[in-house]
């Protein structure tokens, strides 16, 4: 350990920003939690009310407007002590967030689509400065053409910005993810900003019965925020945002990467602790009926529920089908995914985003790349791009994909490698020619 590392462990408490943490009391939270009907936006707002960050800079945008509205009314009603900063754009919103976080504050905000796109420059500055903060993203398709409905385009664009990225399946999970996001991002091993994605309208505007945990229990779980590097501590002055010459830049990028790598472990630890406190356990992945599956769909976000329903149907008729839902795109849990996929014969990766000119959509690319080392025994991997701009994914579409996987297993090479689900008209010929990338099946 060098001098600078040792110094980083000195006590540094920003006045008025930390108190002693109180030990967990599970029994307490069991008794006083409430079952309520909330939409995704409302659930996020309630989670933020309970965590009560120091600063919420925001600029409203459909479909996540309600989050800022509710935070504003919680503050007006005296239920939050948070400082809401109304700014003139999302670029400014995240700039305020960066400044507040550097000053040592716990920060949260919410946005969608064009708003996230307008935050782009600051996304990298928050991540590069290793400033923890939580951003709820109500996923909505990017313009043009202007659409307003859900897909993961903007989130996938931000996947390499250095933010951790959660994708929630339900309103309950969104609420739970917001709470866990503070702990994960603020962990000293991680120190990175976290994006919590919830599908626009499908989650943001749809009401669901959820457990709203006790305020005190959530506050105890999240713990008071402590950071050792703050602009407001005259006893230990630090500078943020300095010029970083060529001989340091790569090492700083490696520090960010180390935070990402360690986050895999922290996510599991925090998920397990959350389970112990509140009874809902979370890991990196959400495998559903994968134990003895032969074919599976990999998916993220809210549409996983529909795929699970179809899997139940197929299982009832004796087909060994499963779903692997990915909860995190960054850090990408490749080892854990590979472990689930290797025993399979064929896999369809379902992406709700589109990368023009690329070989398939982002999640597909990473999964296929993760499996490359196992090419002798790896399953066929195909890409099904669905739900762009809010296009409905029907159960019939999912059944078709499973039957495509079956025919791949049977050696049918005419199954297209990449296909837009529900597209009118024939796909492009060069996509058809890739014919499932002709991987030999089961030669491990």
């Amino acid at each position: 350990m060098t001098a600078s590392r040792r110094r980083s462990k000195t006590k540094n408490e920003v006045r008025g920003m930390s108190t002693q943490s109180v030990p967990q009391d599970r029994a307490d939270s069991d008794r006083s939690r409430k079952e309520v009907v909330l939409s995704g936006n409302m659930a996020v707002a309630h989670a933020l009310r309970q965590v009560d960050p120091h600063v919420f800079p925001g600029y409203p945008i459909t479909p996540s407007t309600k989050i800022m509205e509710m935070v504003a009314s919680f503050i007006a009603n005296g239920e939050m002590q948070c400082e809401l900063v109304a700014v003139e754009s999302e670029h400014s919103a995240l700039s305020v967030a960066v400044g507040a976080a550097a000053a040592g504050a716990r920060v949260a905000s919410a946005t969608s689509s064009q708003g996230l796109a307008f935050m782009w420059e600051m996304l990298y500055i928050a991540a590069g400065s290793q400033l923890p903060m939580v951003l709820a993203v109500g996923n909505r398709a990017l313009s043009a053409p202007i659409n307003g409905f859900s897909d993961h385009g903007e989130a996938m664009g931000a996947r390499d910005s250095g933010w951790l990225q959660f994708h929630s399946e339900s309103v309950q999970e969104t609420y739970d993810n917001i709470v866990q996001a503070f702990r994960i991002g603020e962990d000293r091993r991680v120190r990175l900003p976290v994006m919590v994605c919830l599908d626009g309208f499908v989650l943001t505007h749809t009401s669901e019965n959820i457990f709203l945990e006790n305020d005190e229990a959530i506050r105890n779980f999240v713990r008071p925020y402590r950071t050792e590097y703050t602009l407001l501590n005259p006893d230990r002055p630090v500078s943020y945002g300095l010029g970083d010459p060529p001989e340091f830049y790569m090492e700083h990028k490696m520090r960010q990467q180390a935070g990402m790598e360690r986050a895999l472990q922290v996510i599991e630890e925090v998920g397990a602790e959350f389970g112990r406190c509140f009874g809902r356990h979370y890991g990196l992945l959400d495998p559903y009926r994968m134990e003895d599956a032969e074919v599976a769909i990999v998916i993220l976000g809210s549409e996983a529920g529909r795929v699970k329903n179809v899997v139940d149907e197929l299982r009832a008729s004796g087909k060994k089908a499963g779903v692997l839902r990915i909860r995190f795109v960054r850090p990408f849990p490749d080892e854990q995914i590979v472990k689930h996929l290797l025993p399979l014969r064929a896999v369809a990766v379902m992406d709700r985003s589109y990368a023009p000119g690329a070989v398939g959509a982002p999640v597909f690319q990473e999964i296929r790349s993760s499996l490359y080392e196992y090419r002798g025994g790896a399953p066929h991997v195909i890409n099904r791009i669905y739900g762009l701009g809010g296009r409905e994914l029907r159960a019939a579409d999912v059944r078709t994909i499973f039957s495509e996987l079956d025919s791949l297993r049977a050696g049918n090479e005419s199954v297209p490698a990449i296909r837009l689900v529900g597209l009118r008209g024939e796909p492009l010929p060069n996509w058809r020619d890739q014919q499932a990338f002709k991987m030999p099946v089961g030669q491990s």
Partner: protein, 111 residues
């Protein structure tokens, strides 16, 4: 060095490995810019020359200099720190026209 005076100009062996650096390019050593000799950024530009015989000690140059390059002793300007002066010329502009104690001279004249 291609990094324009930005670099520490130290060999690799003297630089810390990534594990020993603070996260997020945070710097916890206040006031270390004095060690970065950025004066050569003047390049082929102009260098301010101060004529102390004309100077009336109004301190306009001292308070206007963005790089704090005017050296004070007992509350009086005694010279210019050329290791950090970038040749912006603000001092010469701020020096009262009636006094005109600071003139900008082409760096080429000093070679």
């Amino acid at each position: 060095m291609s990094s324009g005076g930005f670099s520490t100009e130290k060999p690799d062996a003297e630089l810390p490995p990534w594990q020993e650096m603070l996260p997020g390019s945070v710097l916890d050593q206040a006031g270390n810019s004095v060690h970065r000799k950025t004066g050569f950024w003047r390049g082929g530009g102009r260098r301010p020359l101060l004529d102390l015989k004309l100077c009336v000690q109004c301190l306009h140059c001292w308070i206007s200099c963005p790089d704090a390059c005017f050296i004070l002793s007992d509350g009086k300007v005694i010279g210019i720190d050329y290791d950090h002066c970038k040749g912006c010329g603000i001092c010469s502009r701020e020096c009262p026209p009636m006094v005109n104690a600071i003139v900008l001279i082409d760096e080429g004249r000093f070679r």
